[in-house]
Symmetry: C2
Subunit: 172 residues, 2 copies
DNA sequence: GCCACATTCATGCGATTGCATCAAGTTTGA
DNA sequence: TCAAACTTGATGCAATCGCATGAATGTGGC
């Protein structure tokens, strides 16, 4: 019997036409489909718990941590909006507005880019570093309880290694 | 050197206090943290591409597929809102409204539950099955190009197996 | 130098989300 | 039998999302 959550269609054949675009005719294997589902569900579980934990602790949402950490790594030179977008993998408009919120909370400052008048450099402030530092213990606990308590280090490394090419592929 | 996306804080020590709640003092290993990041990023890549592909094909969003597939598996008996919620792992209010949209599109019908006047049974219609069938080729292509093209079947099965306990844990 | 095109970021908009709450129905216990 | 507690699903609301678009700036061909 198929896995309970297998989304494979048993009736896709009738819907397939001889001259569908080639792209639409490729079918993932059962194993690949199972991995996809696991990926989606596991992330949903993880994200939900992270957001809830942060909210309960009266801390900002997950996206703030993500952005602040990237900015902290970037240091005094800051990052452009577009660079944050590439790191975080969220839509540009959302980065723009997230930065608005971070600025309103004094977590970052916008500085004009000396070499490109269109761009701006987003630089983290001490207040921003402090916010990130306060978020980390809560976030860390969620990572540990969601992943660490169920997956040993070897398997965890395996997951990161297997998924690396998936993440690297920006095709589309 | 630490991985570029390692969110581990180098300055969490100063923020740690002797009598923090025990829950907030657990720290994930580097491997577990890397797995967490891989999970989040890979799912973001996957979801974005699925949503875009479906939109380009003028098909409904990912959530519709998920719900319709659960309902199709459930057959004529249908599912309660709460059962769909557990399968899809989204908030109850969102299931309620997703079902509204599915109903408006004639993809499902609501039937009173014979044994519980509060509940209702959501049953997929032929139109709903047709919509899911039209979505599958697009969805399948994304699964293949995002996961299948980068991960072999053995690794895919490994991912599903390793993540299973993560998904199963509904603690919190 | 100048004009067409590309890039960078902001913003209007409609859709969707989660949380809190509510109404209706069911179960429990005395 | 009746009231308190619980369960089920709907809804108001504010926040956030992605897309489409716009304004400002930069780049390259002539």
């Amino acid at each position: 019997m198929a896995k309970a959550t297998d989304p494979k269609s048993n009736d896709d054949a009738p819907t397939r036409r001889a001259n569908d675009a080639a792209a639409a005719t490729r079918r993932p294997s059962d194993a690949v489909t199972a991995a996809w589902i696991a990926l989606m569900r596991a992330q949903q579980v993880a994200m939900r718990r992270a957001e809830r934990a942060l909210r309960r602790a009266e801390l900002p949402a997950y996206g703030w941590y993500d952005a602040l950490w990237e900015l902290e790594k970037a240091g005094e030179d800051g990052l452009r909006i577009g660079e944050i977008e590439q790191q975080m993998l969220v839509a540009q408009s959302n980065v723009s507005r997230l930065v608005d919120r971070l600025e309103a909370a004094s977590c970052i400052v916008r500085r004009p880019c000396p070499t490109d008048g269109r761009a701006q450099l987003i630089v983290i402030t001490d207040a921003g570093r402090a916010v990130r530092a306060r978020m980390w213990p809560i976030y860390a606990e969620v990572i540990q309880s969601v992943v660490g308590d169920h997956v040993n280090d070897a398997d965890a490394s395996l997951i990161a290694a297997i998924l690396a090419p998936v993440i690297a592929d920006r095709g589309d």
